[in-house]
Symmetry: D2
Subunit: 337 residues, 4 copies
């Protein structure tokens, strides 16, 4: 293993990008963010100065400069493709926040470029695979400790969203995480997608059906339902129940003190998304740094990013047409095995 | 209130019938089983002798005899109609174990006969309405303590069933309980029914898809999913999660001691259906005795029994055709308001 | 078993007495309260009329009348002895609410009278032995399912007490229940008692140390600590943790729905003593009626009442002297085996 | 803040020492172990080679060399004083695993040397202060969110110990952690100590009373009981229940998936000490590195180490004499405020 620090550049220094800079420079091991870029030059320069990085007006220039060993792409979604492609072209490792790209075709182009380049370089930021609870579920399922998984009942609950969050975003922004992690949990591909509505909460607005339920089936017949309820009013609550042949498994509750007051005995749960997966983000980036230094991609690949988008599109089509849509995917290339 | 003991007759003294005789005579107040009948005369006579009842070879004769004030019908399902009709004709109160009758048309005939008779006499044995946990949920929903209910996620899990339990029975024998109690919980009628399959457990047999999921929607748009998993291998586990606008509610766990042994901290759950609802059965029959003595029907009515069967048939049709079926019901007669 | 209803009289028709009349007449089987007595004649007559009982101005007269088969003593504590003695003299069964008598000597006189009478007639109202949770603990301990019990950690928490509740009452009124049920759980006698104080809650008053801790040891060396905290401000919470050689056991939580609201996931606990043990009271009185009709005393005996008071007195002496006191008890007479 | 890596030396490279080297070099930020020493030269050289450190035959030489900025002392307990003193003399920061020194007098000498040196340099390895659960309790208590703390009920349970673990070690090795963290939780000093025994588990051996209970009281009257049960047979289980005026608080359960199998619903708990506090150790050492680079001691001080040993000695004396012992401590020097 190469003991030198991985020299990392970050394209897009909004909130997510800056949290990655901070965790890499202040908490994690083996890497340092030495360069950054942002379409907003003035803002980007201030950020660079704050973190002691070199500022590049042009992200592609930074990627091709030879001054960084790896790049993190945290621009707004439509620009992911541009910078991931630049990284592939430059032959450097790239961590791209989800989604790999908004459109499935863009994801496919990235996959093809990566295969052409002959070397896996791309990791997509689906951090739930790094959550301790999901990892325990994965272990139990992988080892078939409790027999075959048959059904999954999941929930993705948010305190509130603003008016810019509309009906499609429940699938494409929120449940995209379930789309990836559940396929990884079960280690098999999806077959169909469906999205149905229920009664709306009074808290939602005209452009948002809330809650929604996404139903996925897998090739072997496992059935998954995911409730997205983004205006609960109070909690960020992630549920994943796996009904296996010999046991019912559930993600753990947050590890908070138990309080018995006001004749109620309970514990606090998360009230914001940022606290729920903070450890998972740290593990994710640390493992990315480690595997990058070892010349490997260990996490969600460009192919996983592509599958995620194809599935999300199928689900959106199912939602728009209120029908069940079959998920059409090519065979996974050997390149990704 | 009439303080004299209610003189009760039981038609059909199989296991369920005998548990009712025992609970009425040995545990509950205000009633006594003084007569019984069974198609199997020899067997019925022994039972009668054991419990100190008068044996009637003919159940209808017992009902019409004037010797009993009320009758409990616990014959096999196809004979429920005959004896309920006899009770209506005789003008005495009747508690009929679910289902009111296997066929919706039979239920309808009973409803029409009861209306013609001009007096509510029929109660159907949907005991979950008497379970303390469901009653707490009912209270919270009725008072809109946590806003409107939007989604329900339920599960009906069994340790094992034998080869005689086939695919239709998941709806018609098991989830018929959910069909009744959830309609009562939400206090509104169903709109559509759907039944889907998942991957089968290795424990099931050729004539049984297991697990199954029944999906019901209500007129106001609440969406309900019920998992029936009847060969879990180990547990009898009933789950009811109600997602309201301001809170997520769940039925309580069984009240068993907590044991921390073998590096696991947990509690026993039910391993048999009979222990899960034993208190509910007692409350159900006691409240039936009480209301009967007060000249009222307080529990699930013949109309509720009819609605239950119509819903079950719609769900079965949905299952057989793998489609969503609209539940067609007439308006509830004022008689039942 | 004698199928005729047990004719019961109640001496002392305050709140506790009236709840027993109601549960016997309206809920339980096999008995009826047909007579009552109270030192407050005017009040007692109204109660008698309300419940359809015959009123006796003189409780001892009621007991000796031959009109009742059994008597329940729910007078204030100092009068328990008088009426229990009267019942023994009349040779009828008596259920006496705890304490059997305030003074250990009075309990001893009752024991001696009962032995002289040659027949066990007395049961004392320690209802926790009839609580489902304690009964599960008892089963596990009796069968040594988890090895020997070594330590118990218990708590007896109350929302609030008024100014008349003083320091001695924590032992003599509240923890007297633990004194009885833990001896029954472990099925062995106590060796020493100790009572210590901690910091006082701001909610207490000048005459009440709150919380207090009572420490009991058994002859075989098991050590028990009981926290009495009677001004918690909000909850009635009973804890019993049994540390065995192979497992840690705990009483179950109250069986209430789980609510996830305001970013807290929990369940309501009892806020009043009356709801916590309501089932235990019903089981207790029903089993007393049943065993009385069978000519047996099955529950806590006069000896158990005597042991309870001796232990409470030793604990009080320990508290007053702030020392460890050895509990001196005679050998249990064969009469009680 | 100084951005250069802290150059750290480790004296004593047994198991604990090596875990610190690994976490500092591979997981944490801002420091690097560049040197080590061990009394076993041959062994120490191999370790040094394995971790890429310079080996010093003489630990004091390493400390005085000027080649390290800070030192971690993980020798066996009797040698802690020697190396901590050397660090104070050399004016470099020192992290000393608990206990600061086995004898209270040795701790006192260290305190006096540190005060003479004029600068706080010493941190003691009480890692529980860095556990997320304990930190949540600390927050609630510090803010008096639930009123004053009145009583604590704690437990320190182990799967098994070998024959070398004798009666005094329950206080001096195991409950020494409770001695430190509970004083930190309550932010006040102890008044008295007591150690009592219960019935022994069959799993213990002739030289070990197991379980034991240590009772501490604080100056303001809070009463703490700690159960040490080191041969539970299966679990590593840490309990801390804080009874405040307005609420009962408890440490969280380990964050493991819930499994419902074999008719039991529960979650795995720790079966080994190493997994329970692994995060706390990481946070502890990271915060030590951070504060050391900022020229501060933020964690448990030499004074805390001294208080810990005085308390442990008082508890041991109490245990040996089976009496309550008053804990005599000098006033905390301003130096440590």
């Amino acid at each position: 293993m190469d003991n030198k620090e991985l020299r990392i550049g970050v394209v897009g220094v909004g909130a997510i990008g800056r949290t990655h800079i901070e965790r890499i420079n202040d908490q994690l091991q083996g890497g340092r963010v030495i360069a950054c870029s942002d379409v907003n030059t003035e803002f980007g320069k201030k950020v660079a100065e704050n973190y002691g990085c070199t500022f590049y007006e042009d992200g592609e220039e930074m990627i091709a400069s030879g001054d960084i060993d790896a790049v993190i792409v945290t621009t707004i979604d439509p620009y992911h493709e541009q910078y991931v492609m630049a990284a592939i072209k430059a032959g450097i490792y790239v961590f791209c926040e989800k989604p790999l790209a908004p459109e499935a075709e863009a994801c496919k182009r990235i996959v093809e470029a990566e295969i052409s380049g002959g070397k896996q370089l791309v990791q997509v930021g689906f951090m739930r695979r790094y959550d301790q609870g999901y990892r325990q579920l994965k272990e139990a399922i992988k080892n078939r400790t409790y027999g075959e998984p048959l059904l999954l009942h999941c929930a993705h609950r948010n305190p509130a969203v603003d008016e810019s969050y509309d009906t499609p975003m429940a699938v494409e922004n929120s449940m995209i995480h379930e789309i990836d992690v559940l396929r990884w949990l079960l280690d098999e591909d999806y077959d169909t997608a469906e999205v149905v509505f229920a009664k709306n909460t009074r808290r939602t607005h005209a452009n948002l059906m809330d809650p929604q339920i996404m139903i996925l089936t897998t090739k072997s017949g496992v059935r998954i339902d995911v409730e997205a309820f983004v205006n609960t009013g109070h909690c960020y609550d992630i549920k994943c129940e796996v009904c296996c042949e010999d046991a019912i498994l559930n993600l753990p509750e947050p590890s908070n003190i138990e309080v018995c007051a006001n004749a109620v005995r309970g514990h606090a749960i998360h009230s914001d998304w940022s606290t729920r997966f903070v450890d998972a983000y740290n593990v994710e980036i640390q493992e990315w740094i480690n595997s990058t230094k070892e010349g490997r991609v260990d996490g969600p690949t460009a192919w996983d990013g592509y599958v995620g988008q194809v599935t999300a599109k199928a689900a959106s089509k199912a939602r728009d047409n209120q029908t069940v849509v079959k998920i059409e995917m090519e065979e996974k290339p050997d390149f990704y095995n």
